[in-house]
């Protein structure tokens, strides 16, 4: 879409009423925990917003993130936000292929140098000079460095781009790294999740269109508005946890009654994401509601943080083996020290000298 319409004009063209538009702005404001007084500001800015150029780079990934984001409830205003950005380069979604596709990227970079938004999904392999993954003969590493240089800001979509993800799992054969491991000096926003919630990315884009900046981030580079709360704290099964009512297996009475999934390995207590409130598939459900514990997919290192089906309070190592070998060593050491003490005792007895009263006299 090579036109110069503002977002407001485009929405009216699509038949979205002013009322509908303001409703979207109010939802966005509340979703991002902005005060109601910001709604008119959001509306005014979005109305006038021009189409920003977006370059989307897909590296070591499974396309799950794109699958998730393209299911952002069409045909709502949200999807129009997606329509509104000028997605100039995206392997999966663009029509062009081969040289044509690469030219599109180069043109977009040249035409919007310093202004375009770079979206990355997938981790970047750095082993073997980055040759584990190449696009048009260019390694992911080289492409990221080149495109990042002219970007206004970078959005790392999905846990792979944000924290390394599954490709980084032990023993990390490709030397996979996250965007923030490799790029510095640019504002980087992480939208982790495997995949992330579509509403989150559209919310972030709306924020960028409105304020021209990225939203407030937490210590892990995630927008606080979406990742500020704990799954466990927002979970509708929380009361069962408090009462000590846990499902022990996936098909016992407790599971049928919807009891807490903590003992089945739910990682909700250590996971920060919006699943429990925003939900998935147009608000239909989310993992815990469908009967499976949270696996903590929006947290760094979730792939190597122990079994998914083991409770958070259970150590991940083999306690039995540790116990046996430590016990054997402890007994052996105890016996050895015992012998040593006995010898000391015997030696002391041997060295004992008879002392008579005469020996103790002062003269």
């Amino acid at each position: 879409m090579k036109d110069d319409l503002t977002l407001g004009e485009r929405l009216r063209q699509r038949g979205v009423s002013r009322r509908g538009f303001l409703k979207y702005c109010a939802t966005t404001a509340s979703m991002m925990a902005l005060p109601p007084s910001m709604i008119p500001a959001i509306a005014a800015s979005l109305e006038k917003a021009k189409r920003p150029s977006v370059i989307w780079l897909s590296f070591q990934e499974c396309t799950g993130c794109t699958e998730s984001l393209t299911r952002s409830h069409a045909p709502t205003v949200e999807s129009l936000i997606f329509d509104h950005i000028s997605l100039d380069y995206h392997h999966t979604l663009q029509a062009a292929a081969g040289d044509g596709a690469e030219h599109a990227r180069e043109e977009a970079m040249k035409g919007n140098w310093g202004k375009y938004l770079l979206v990355v999904d997938g981790s970047i392999p750095t082993g073997e000079n980055g040759n584990y993954s190449t696009i048009a003969g260019i390694s992911n590493l080289a492409m990221l460095e080149e495109v990042a240089e002219g970007a206004a800001a970078i959005v790392a979509v999905g846990t792979c781009a944000a924290y390394g993800g599954l490709p980084m799992a032990n023993p990390n054969p490709t030397g996979a790294k996250s965007v923030s491991d490799l790029v510095s000096g640019k504002p980087i926003l992480n939208v982790p999740g495997c995949p992330p919630i579509p509403t989150v990315i559209s919310g972030v884009l709306a924020h960028y269109l409105t304020f021209g900046t990225l939203p407030e981030l937490d210590a892990l580079g995630r927008p606080k508005a979406f990742y500020g709360q704990n799954i466990h704290d927002r979970c509708y099964r929380r009361p069962f946890y408090e009462r000590g009512e846990f499902a022990e297996t996936f098909d016992d009475e407790g599971a049928k009654k919807g009891w807490c999934l903590y003992k089945l390995g739910c990682k909700g207590p250590t996971t920060y994401n919006a699943c429990a409130t925003a939900k998935w598939n147009e608000g239909t459900s989310w993992p815990v509601e469908s009967g499976h514990g949270c696996i903590g997919c929006s947290e760094p290192n979730f792939w190597d943080a122990g079994p998914f089906y083991q409770a958070l309070s259970v150590p991940t190592g083999d306690a039995g083996n540790t116990l046996l070998s430590a016990a054997a060593a402890g007994v052996a050491a105890g016996v050895a020290v015992g012998f040593l003490n006995k010898r000391n005792k015997a030696q002391a007895a041997e060295a004992h000298e008879q002392v008579s009263a005469d020996d103790l006299s002062k003269d």
């Binding site: 000590g244 190597d304 991940t316 540790t322 402890g330 105890g334």
Partner: protein, 219 residues
């Protein structure tokens, strides 16, 4: 190091090392005592040593009336602490899950409200114990560094567990990691302080009781 990485370490290698040191150290200490041995007692007993041993293990749980009358608060506080500590350790759902997974033995737990209250009481009784130790001239005189170390490593797991559950001070992930690390510190330190009494209490009571029982005197 991120708090996630810290938690992963605490749940994995950290716990393994701590458990190994705990078991190794505890057995070393106990065997060291046991292997010293005693000269065989060839005297004919006036009563049963075994009965005396078993009886004393149980009866010494309660204080003598004359001792209790002298220091009722300190003794009651000891009971409050031990009961509170056992409640949070053995009857909190996530803790039971640990024992169930690792030992194959599970039991019903209390609701978190009760455990939460027990944790508060345990923390308060530990603080009271410290205050009494610091204000009583006699207790202060006979306290060594080891006593304060033992108090600290016992206090930290209860405090961090309470803070983690109630999402206070730090994000849950971070506090949970600190909670596990404090438990690991307790495991590592326990064999080398007076905390060995968690096992040796039975041995020493048995010994005293056996001696008394054998001689046919009260213990």
């Amino acid at each position: 190091m991120t708090s996630e990485a810290l938690l992963t370490w605490a749940r994995g290698p950290g716990f393994d090392w701590a458990l190994a040191i705990f078991v190794l150290g505890m057995l070393l200490r106990l065997f060291e005592v046991l292997s010293l041995g005693r000269k065989p007692d060839l005297s004919e007993g006036r009563g049963s040593g075994v009965a005396g041993g078993v009886r004393t293990i149980i009866t010494r749980t309660l204080p003598r009336a004359s001792v209790f009358a002298r220091e009722p608060v300190r003794i009651l506080n000891g009971f409050v602490f031990h009961i509170g500590f056992f409640m949070v350790l053995f009857f909190y759902g996530p803790h039971i899950e640990l024992f169930e997974t690792k030992l194959g033995l599970g039991w019903p737990g209390f609701s978190t409200g009760i455990i939460d209250a027990a944790a508060v009481i345990t923390v308060a009784s530990l603080i009271l114990a410290l205050v009494m130790r610091l204000t009583s001239p006699v207790l202060k005189q006979i306290s060594s560094v080891g006593d304060y170390v033992a108090w600290t490593v016992t206090f930290l797991p209860v405090l961090t567990g309470y803070l983690a559950y109630n999402h206070m001070l730090l994000p849950y992930t971070q506090m949970l990691a600190l909670h596990l690390l404090s438990v690991e510190l307790l495991l590592v330190v326990a064999p080398f302080t007076k905390l060995t009494h968690m096992f040796s209490f039975a041995m020493s009571r048995w010994y005293q009781g056996y001696q008394a029982g054998h001689r046919g005197v009260e213990s």
